[in-house]
Symmetry: C2
Subunit: 232 residues, 2 copies
DNA sequence: CGCTCTATTGATAAACCTCAAATACAGTGG
DNA sequence: CCACTGTATTTGAGGTTTATCAATAGAGCG
């Protein structure tokens, strides 16, 4: 059926399954369990053992870590075609983050055992997994260094650009970030407060760099933002 | 000869080679190139392609990233028995950090090609490599979240404890960090300035938590530091 | 329309950085 | 062994950035 074709298409575009024959993908896909999540629903929590690896088919998940005092540090967003908790295959330890759906979302989940079987059958998967982990390491390392050396306004610029690249959709006024993204979310992503984010966005709006509303941001002048992010 | 035995012993204890037969280790070891570095010498630089993977036999390397304005962000320290740039096997991109020797240091380096041959011969090595990368991802992710949510004093406490665990040596007065570690280094590791580090260490010295001198720190009361790091 | 959640904005305070100057220390060569 | 020199460290004063608190306004939803 059509639906199935679209899904295997997403699976094939996923970094984990590149280089795997088209005709095997259907097997791989059907060996996983498909599930739907409402907006705000929790895919997994940091204090429970992550037993599965998930591929996002539709929607989006927010990967975050909750601090004792209620602060939420956002590690990243997982978009359609991307995987999360894939690492759990290789560690018995808990995956130390929480994943929550942003908008109605759908995933396919493979258990640890299934993933190991798949990797035995298709060694390419293990290699792809390594590539994914390395890419993530690069990403978080860059962000770590930015967090250390750059000021808040610059970090917010980078964050917005990063999110824009991954989840932006071209509209008349610029590039719209296509999911609910509050000031609080951006603050959690950049390590600041919602007040500071609000002030900075207001400022950028006056300059015409962005247009923002309730839980919604459109980047009107990406070039200006890039220049600012680079030069401070 | 005796020297050789000690070296293969280090190789065998390296995370990359666990699970490999003892008698193979000598082959593996001899397929790499051994090299000595003076204190401060550069093993590799961030803007040049990293063509080898290195295992530290003796001494220590400081892995850092240099910012335009001269600031140095320290990613981590690599101790004897640990590997660095192992990832370069899987990416042609440059490894985006600089490694400098801290004290006289010795490494074994394997070229990309040799590593691939080794991994073909001993598949366990690829699995071990994945485990190493995952461990690093966990580490940097934890530190990223700490950097976002915690204040400087708390971060310095965590940094000192982390370094202490990895490179500490028990002495009469407590646990000595066994290599040259300046206030500037700690600042680069925690994302602050040498002045702030100095003030905080002075303060801790008054409380009897540490004893510190020129490029040298002894943790006198690890328990107090742990408590502080946890509770703020 | 009223309720709730999000965003804005001002005032204030805290944390931290920057700059400057003095001091301590390790290593070096006489 | 000692003076010398180049760093590393300490400490104070002042400024900047950013967090915190509080109050208000706006948006969406039933």
């Amino acid at each position: 059926m059509n639906n199935q074709i679209i899904l295997t298409d997403i699976v094939s575009r996923s970094d984990l399954f590149v280089g795997i024959d088209e005709d095997k993908l259907c097997d791989i896909f059907s060996s996983g369990e498909r599930r739907l999540y409402k907006s705000g629903a929790t895919l997994f929590r940091e204090w429970t053992p992550a037993v599965k690896s998930y591929l996002v088919l539709e929607g989006r998940f927010k990967l975050s870590k909750l601090h004792e005092d209620g602060k939420e540090a956002i590690v990243r967003y997982i978009n359609p075609g991307e995987m999360t908790a894939a690492i759990s295959v290789f560690k018995k330890k808990n995956y130390p983050v929480t994943a929550q759906a942003v908008g109605i979302s759908e995933v396919v989940g493979w258990s640890r055992e299934t993933m190991l079987e798949l990797m035995a059958a298709y060694p390419q998967i293990a290699i792809n997994l390594l590539g994914m982990v390395v890419a993530r390491l690069d990403d978080i390392q860059s962000r770590y260094l930015e967090l250390q050396t750059e000021q808040v306004e610059q970090r917010i610029a980078r964050a917005l650009l990063r999110i824009m690249k991954q989840s932006g959709r071209k509209v008349d006024e610029g590039i719209l970030i296509d999911f609910r993204l509050s000031r609080q979310d951006l603050a959690g992503y950049t390590g600041t407060t919602l007040y500071t984010v609000s002030r900075i966005l207001s400022n950028w709006e006056k300059k015409g760099w962005v247009r923002s509303g309730r839980e919604q941001i459109t980047v009107a002048d990406p070039h200006a933002l890039v220049t600012f992010a680079e030069t401070g």
